[in-house]
Symmetry: C2
DNA sequence: ATTAAGAAAGGACAATTGTCCCAATATGTC
DNA sequence: GACATATTGGGACAATTGTCCTTTCTTAAT
């Protein structure tokens, strides 16, 4: 649920210090609650989280938000739109104070074509997203809220401190009411 | 729900005829109902569907199968495991007569490193999987079975002829009983 | 201190979905 | 035809989840 990729982060930070790539990668800071990228907007840059936590979510015609993932250090967004050549399909919002690295699409594509290791880490990053999504959604579909919540708690013990209840519910695709019920049932079963 | 990628298929077929890549890509035929790749097994090859339809699914501890996607011509599987360096996380089974191209992981990685266009199409393919999954699961979580079914029918008019009811249910993550109810409600509303 | 605003928790009922089971309809075999 | 075997569809009830609304607590502002 909270994705990280320190290997990729390391590479980006090395590139940033490399004079050959002067100015390619810029750093930016945001307060909590800021929308970095809107759904259905034109995407011109790729971002990587340096520090903090962002949520990646889609808003449906029903008005419901569905959270795809929480992106922590080393996670990238805005890259899929380069390949699919469409507007953004999800929104990105900070859920804590966040610092990001930014690269233009043009710069990003050049890195992909010229920098072998960068290219490989990008392939790995995308493959990791595919795999993680597959496993998560399969599990979520096949289990009830209580079991899904238990799984999240096993991944992150202090989940209630990291993520607001509402976001937890939107990640699991259920209402807050139902999430509360699941929490109570877990308490009782201790 | 039925994924295709003719651009990638074209490239593979061209490579197959190219004497430089003699023997790299082999062709194989399967009857309907054959398991090509088992869950939690070691993966040594990458496959691309040439003709026919396969389903990609995970089996959960509850005994439930959850279908990720149906792969048609040009879709690849067995590639994610190269990057994640783990056993297969889903199973692949033919749902019609199917012909496949097969490449060893070693051959695949070499193509990735040496063939620019191949590399780019691989990035595109992975990005497409990420995007498609995101949109599908968000929609499915945010709507009831009836609406989800309507969406599938709008994608593929003749869905009931292509996919068995049980597979449809497993794709939507619901029981056959519930799928039948949704079908009836749709009939009534005509 | 008082008030307003907003978050958090849960009661009550409705809607949806799952589970279990049975009847109807093929399908193929002898 | 008679029989076994699937396959399909749906009834009845249980479990789960959603919707709506109220209450309780904070928190913040004046």
């Amino acid at each position: 649920m909270i994705r990280i990729n320190y290997e990729f982060l390391d590479l980006i930070e090395n590139l940033r210090e490399n004079p050959d790539y002067q100015g390619l990668i810029t750093a930016h800071n945001f307060k909590s609650g800021r929308v970095i990228l809107d759904q259905n907007s034109k995407v011109n840059n790729v971002y990587m989280v340096k520090e903090g936590l962002t949520k990646c979510y889609l808003t449906e015609d029903t008005g419901k938000d569905f959270i795809q993932e929480f992106f922590g250090p080393g996670e990238i967004f805005g890259e899929v739109e380069i390949f699919s050549e469409t507007y953004s399909f999800c929104a990105i919002e900070t859920v804590s104070q966040v610092s990001l690295y930014k690269i233009t699409h043009k710069g990003f594509v050049e890195l992909l074509k010229k920098h072998k290791e960068f290219n490989w880490l990008m392939l790995k990053s995308l493959a990791s997203k595919v795999k993680y999504k597959a496993i998560r959604h399969s599990f979520n579909q096949s289990h009830n809220t209580e079991t899904n919540l238990m799984r999240l708690k096993s991944e992150h013990e202090n989940i209630y401190n990291l993520i607001p209840k509402k976001d937890l519910a939107n990640y699991l695709g259920v209402t807050e009411r139902n999430l509360n019920r699941a929490i109570n049932r877990l308490k009782e079963s201790v």
